[in-house]
């Protein structure tokens, strides 16, 4: 039985008829759309239901919701200071979406939304769009000073394009980091899963050897749990850092 470890990332329409059309392109309801809806509904339901009792001594669920709230609030506060807190809803939504997508993707048989570069790149573009809009609202045309380092004018001819390209790099590196981590981890799981199946089917001494990749899968699964959280954290903290630059320009130097 030949298994393709990349097959898990294939986007398939769940309903054969397209939902609607945009400029002649049929739009299908895919497994990706389903998982995104599940992630959004599950995280919203969990957060609202968990804090509903509003007890002084929290239950386990309420404590989880409050911990994630405080975790993000502290992160924004330490990265951007007091005035960054008005971006809390945005950063918290992004963090929870990425975190829940990563975790839901780890359930065997499900689909990892964040392993699609289309999703992560859209998220990163949203972040950068917000940064640019915030910067221009807060500083007006002075926001462009972000691209002008302190240097003599004849060097600026070279440095300004470099700074602009470096700024435009951010959505790419932000999205590639998340997407590549999820892709690599899940491919690894699938490859070792394939080892278990083919060793088990080989018969004789090989059947016994199948336990080795099985144990490895457990270890990788634990690692993937860590990576799932870590990548959500990295995505959120970088969002904060970029927002901080838009809010305070060169203050951090």
């Amino acid at each position: 039985m030949a298994m393709n470890p990349m097959e898990q990332f294939a986007i398939k329409p769940l309903v054969s008829a397209p939902l609607f059309q945009i400029a002649g392109h049929p739009i299908y309801f895919t497994n990706q759309a389903l998982l995104m809806i599940i992630v959004v509904v599950a995280s919203s339901l969990f957060l609202t239901l968990a804090v509903k009792p509003g007890r002084l001594v929290p239950t386990r669920g309420q404590s989880m919701a409050e911990l994630s709230y405080e975790f993000v609030a502290n992160m924004i506060h330490s990265a951007t200071g007091e005035d960054g807190l008005k971006f809390f809803p945005f950063v918290f939504s992004i963090f929870m979406f990425v975190l829940c997508s990563n975790f839901f993707g780890l359930i065997p048989g499900s689909f990892t939304v964040t392993s699609q570069i289309a999703v992560t790149f859209s998220l990163a573009c949203l972040v950068l769009g917000l940064v640019v809009v915030t910067g221009f609202i807060k500083h007006g045309i002075g926001f462009l000073k972000l691209f002008v380092p302190a240097a003599p004018w004849y060097l600026l001819i070279l440095l300004v394009p470099i700074e602009v390209i470096s700024f435009l790099t951010r959505p790419v590196s932000l999205s590639v980091r998340l997407f590549a981590n999820m892709l690599a981890g899940h491919t690894m799981l699938a490859v070792f899963g394939g080892f278990v199946v083919s060793l088990g089917a080989a018969g004789g001494i090989f059947t016994g050897l199948a336990i080795a990749p099985m144990l490895l899968i457990i270890a990788i699964m634990l690692l993937e749990l860590l990576v799932a959280f870590l990548q959500a954290y990295v995505f959120a903290i970088l969002t904060c850092i970029y927002l901080n630059e838009a809010l305070h320009l060169h203050d951090h130097h």
Binding site: L56, I162, I165, S166, L168, N181
Partner: protein, 114 residues
């Protein structure tokens, strides 16, 4: 269950606040592992090259649209600029990492002094 005693509550709140400020001042996570650092630098560099090359290609395409055959002048120029931007990104990332490690070590030292 009786109603909570306001004095005890206030005391508990104070103790929680103290714990929180202590924790905030102390260690704030450990520096990331080596492979994730390497991966971060690699993505920064590759992303800058892609963006630089892409921009140059786009500019060439745009000029070609208007009848100026500049290809591949801007592609080459912006690829080089992209490489420079990538190096700048990596240097910045390394500087940030150094600052973070210094902060963590400082936090650990002040923890030991306590």
């Amino acid at each position: 269950m009786t109603a909570p005693d306001p004095d005890r509550l206030a005391e508990l709140g104070k103790r929680l606040d103290e714990l929180q400020t202590n924790r905030a001042a102390g260690t704030k996570g450990s520096p990331p592992g080596q492979s994730s650092i390497a991966f971060r630098f690699a993505t920064e560099m590759v992303a800058a090259l892609i963006v630089g090359g892409g921009l140059g290609w786009g500019i060439d395409w745009l000029f070609g649209h208007f009848g100026f055959h500049t290809r591949p002048v801007f592609l080459i120029l912006f690829f080089v600029l992209g490489a420079a931007a990538g190096i700048r990104n990596v240097v910045h990332a390394a500087a940030e990492l150094n600052a973070e490690i210094a902060r963590v070590q400082k936090g650990q030292r002040s923890d030991e002094e306590k």
